[in-house]
Symmetry: C2
Subunit: 157 residues, 2 copies
DNA sequence: CGGTATTGGTTGCAAATGTAACGAAAATGA
DNA sequence: TCATTTTCGTTACATTTGCAACCAATACCG
C-alpha cells in the first residue's frame, strides 16, 4: 500500500460518507437494485444472467471464460447464470470443436428477441441515471471511471 | 421510467462495458474486494462492521436505524454487524431510556482504538484509489457521485 | 383509556454466493 | 510418448445474505 496521506490527516475528522469507496458502494448498490428489480419483473432474469446475455449478444459467440474476464463475476457465477439461461431456453451451449473442455455460448431465437428488448430498457436506465449530469459531466465521468477501474486493477497486484 | 433515449439509439451497437451501471458495479466491486481483504486481514472485521464502527465513531452514539439510513445496509445486516462487534468486544449497546425498543451504540475503549487505526488505513485506501486522478478530477468525481446518488434515490420513487 | 397500527430490532428459514475439490480435456516437457 | 501440470467448467459444501415472521415497545386514535 502506497503512503500518500498528508501529514495533517490525523487532525481532520473522519467522515465515512465522503470516502470514495463508500460513495461508490452506495451509488452502485442503489443503481443495481433499481435495475435488478426491473429486469426481474419484466424479463424474469437476474443481473448476472443479463450480463451473460449482453456479452453473448455483443460478441455473437463466447466462452464462459470470456464472460469471467469481462465482468466482475467468477467462473462459478457464470456457470450458474449460463445454466439458468439454458434452462429458460434463452441460451444454447455447443461444445467447441477446437477445445472440447469449453462450451461456446450463443443466444437462441427467443434469447435474441429478449436480448434486444433488454438492451432498449438498459439504455433507458443508463439515460435515466445520466440525466442528472450535463453532457460534459457524463464524458468526464466515463473517463474517470475508466481510470479508476484501471487503478483498482493495479492495486490488486 | 422516463423516456430519454434518442431516436437513433436503436442503431447504435450495444456495448455492456460502456454502461454506467455496469462500470459502477465493476469499479465498486474491485475496490470493495480490495478493501474487504485488507480489513479482514488486519483487523478481522467485515466492511459492514467497519461501516458501523465508522458511524458510531463519527456520531459518538447512534441507533441501529441511523446506520440503516446512512449506509446501503438493511436493518438485518446492521443487526448482525452490531452483534458481531459486540461479540468481539468492540461495541457496546445500552437501551435508550427515551425509547426502550432501540439501543444506543457506542464504541468500547478497545473499539475506539481500533476505529482510529482503521480510519488511518481507510484514508490510505481512499488516497490510493484517487491517486489515479488529478486534484480537479477528484473534486469533479465527488460532485458527480453526489448528484448521481441523489438521482438514484429519486428514481427509486 | 383501550384497541389497533407502527416502529425498533432480532430470529428462522430459504435463496444466493464463495471456496475448494473435482473430472475431463489439453498443454507441457522429459 | 507418457507422465505431470494446467485449464475449463461443474458440483458439493459452508457461509452469507435477504425476506418474512416475530416479539417488544411506542404511537395513534376512536
Amino acid at each position: 500500500m502506497t503512503q500518500t496521506t498528508t501529514q495533517n490527516s490525523a487532525e481532520e475528522p473522519f467522515i465515512l460518507e465522503e470516502f470514495i469507496p463508500f460513495k461508490l458502494a452506495v451509488l452502485s448498490d442503489a443503481v443495481s437494485k433499481l435495475i435488478a428489480r426491473d429486469y426481474s419483473d419484466r424479463f424474469g432474469i437476474t443481473i448476472a444472467e443479463w450480463r451473460v446475455m449482453a456479452l453473448v449478444s455483443q460478441y455473437d459467440e463466447v466462452r464462459a471464460q470470456t464472460v469471467v474476464e469481462k465482468t466482475p463475476m467468477d467462473k462459478v457465477a457464470v456457470s450458474r447464470a449460463v445454466a439458468s439461461l439454458v434452462d429458460k431456453g434463452l441460451l444454447e451451449k455447443r461444445t467447441s470443436q477446437a477445445d472440447r473442455r469449453s462450451a461456446l455460448l450463443h443466444l437462441s431465437a427467443k434469447g435474441n428477441t429478449i436480448a434486444t428488448d433488454i438492451q432498449a430498457v438498459a439504455k433507458v436506465h443508463n439515460d435515466d441515471v445520466l440525466q442528472a449530469l450535463t453532457t460534459t459531466e457524463q464524458a468526464v465521468l466515463h473517463a474517470i471511471l475508466d481510470k479508476l477501474i484501471v487503478q483498482a486493477r493495479n492495486l490488486t497486484q
